[in-house]
Symmetry: C2
Subunit: 349 residues, 2 copies
């Protein structure tokens, strides 16, 4: 397998299936791990970082999940490929910058992704479609157990797993759920809802993680505290919070539908009409219109397009994806034209 | 024939044919005539107005053009029918108000329309599709000659035909041309062009005549002076002015096309996409989007829809037309829904 094989593949988290798939795009569990007695990447010298890289590459190469996958060093990797992996949510934007002594490992189904020498020696994630954190936890827990056999992780009986940033210390786990909340946005309740969960130590981010804005009404919600409780307890508390948000989004959808269904249907159908006909379209407008289209599918207004096709469009209309699909560099203006063309081709069937 | 027969008929002026039909919707010649020795309608008493009405009805009934047409008194006519005739440009808004002792005559092709006891005893118009004032003049001139055999028109050897408003005295003729000038609007040149022709004693009006705004980039241009020159001379001068405006609109279209064709194509296709998909649409938005669609057809961007269908949509999406098509009164909100439905049905073929 190589990176280009991913181009025509639907990532696990984009399948549009799984529990509550009408509101929950995907569930993700991430674990931070570090090798004992070696400084964290930001403090380690070149030799140490190379040593870490080799040690972890070696351990990963025995992993069953990666038999059909790739383990790639980032140094020398094409910028477009790095951006492509970021757009697919397989690695962080931070990992794509300053790429010396870094690696990324991805399985062919894009369930597992492992970053080596990002903020911690190991940052691994498992993604599942829909509202499915426990399943993601089961998978990543087995992978963690396997790696722990060959690697000695920095662990303190008092604190748990040690990490570069103290907020990750303890379980080293972060669970996050990507939610599509158009009705809470439309009814202007989303700020209130997100402010409430912030008080409970949950953070909200946009589609691309830390520091990104919510586009297309997507919100990524994750736990802030990873210390003092077991992983299943943390997942339970995330599930409880997400369940409440799902309930509120459902109520908002019902309220809009009861109050002004024709206006909603008009907006959804116009969004589809523009997507099917535009000749130039920005990624921002694309995200907004696809969000309305997805709501239309989820509410039964649009019946002949499935959720998976919309999810895919969210991803493949991004800059690096467009350029890899065209096999050449494109200016921003060229991308807006190609994006519109791609969307028309995928929707006018 | 009765009024409802017009509902599914394409008016002469909407055929989308004739010279310069890509810019000129229609050409119209209107003549004002009054019976001699009888006060103008606004000054005449009831008996006199009834006498005028009977005399003119009698004269019109012999007219070959009206053999397949209707001559209708407005008193007691349904308000929706009156609005319907105004929307079809067969009579003025003024004529539809205070309807006593008034009549309207229309032929089955909607080439000829005669208002009795509007501002003058007779206001007759002949419409032709495209840029075709002389043809309209030839037709109306014959009708005028025929009527002059049976009626004695107020005429002064010095002043010509006498009319209620002095601006019509002389030939009693007004020639007007309905132009579609989207490129001059887009390039913000239209105000300059219209200001220039105003200095040459031409007036510009919107789609529905005096006092109406230009909607859908339609402009109706007509001569202000009807005195001191023969009808063909006046028509010649109108033709010269219109020819120049056509030239300027064509140049503006070429300039937009040369400079930024993709942006234009995007706007045109989005307009069509919205028209094909909206569930609620106002008449104002409809006019704007249809204007872009018409430009798309005229510039060869849209190939599978003809001009005539767009012209018809301009007319049948108006309030009275919508209500007559549905055979019932509709609120403004209901009309916006029915309008969207009608447009979808006519464009999604």
């Amino acid at each position: 397998m190589n990176i280009n094989d991913l181009l025509n593949h639907t990532s696990e988290w984009l399948k549009g299936s799984g529990p509550n798939a009408d509101i929950v795009i995907s569930s993700r569990i991430r674990l931070a791990r570090n090798l004992e007695k070696i400084p964290f990447p930001h403090w380690a010298g070149k030799d140490k970082r190379e040593e870490v890289l080799k040690t972890i590459e070696q351990a990963l190469s025995g992993l069953e999940h990666l038999k059909q996958g790739v383990i790639l060093r980032l140094a020398g990797m094409d910028n477009l490929d790095k951006q492509f992996l970021v757009e697919r949510h397989l690695m962080s934007l931070e990992h794509a910058q300053k790429t010396n002594y870094k690696a990324i490992a991805v399985d062919s189904e894009e369930v597992l992704a492992v970053m080596v020498n990002e903020e911690d020696h190991i940052r691994m994630q498992v993604m599942q479609s829909g509202f499915n954190l426990f399943e993601a936890w089961n998978i990543i827990n087995q992978i963690d157990d396997y790696l722990a056999k060959g690697l000695r992780f920095a662990f303190s009986p008092e604190w748990g797993y040690l990490t570069a940033c103290p907020t990750n210390t303890g379980t080293g786990m972060r669970g996050s759920v990507m939610l599509h909340l158009p009705a809470l946005v439309m009814t202007r309740q989303v700020d209130r809802v997100l402010a409430a969960i912030a008080k409970l130590s949950f953070t909200t981010r946009g589609l691309y993680g830390e520091g990104t804005q919510a586009t297309g009404n997507f919100f990524q919600i994750s736990n802030q505290v990873s210390l003092g409780r077991s992983e299943p307890e943390i997942i339970d508390s995330i599930n409880g919070i997400i369940q409440q948000i799902i309930e509120q989004e459902n109520q908002a959808r019902e309220a809009i539908s009861a109050k002004n269904k024709p206006v909603l249907e008009d907006r959804i159908n116009r969004s589809l009409g523009i997507l099917k006909s535009a000749r130039i379209i920005s990624s921002q407008e694309t995200a907004e219109l696809l969000s309305m289209l997805r709501l239309g599918i989820d509410m039964g207004v649009i019946k002949d397009i499935d959720r998976r096709r919309v999810n895919e469009l969210f991803i493949i209309t991004q800059p690096a994806h467009l350029q890899k699909l065209e096999s050449k560099k494109l200016s921003s203006e060229e991308r807006d034209v190609k994006r519109a063309e791609l969307i028309r081709n995928k929707l006018n069937i």
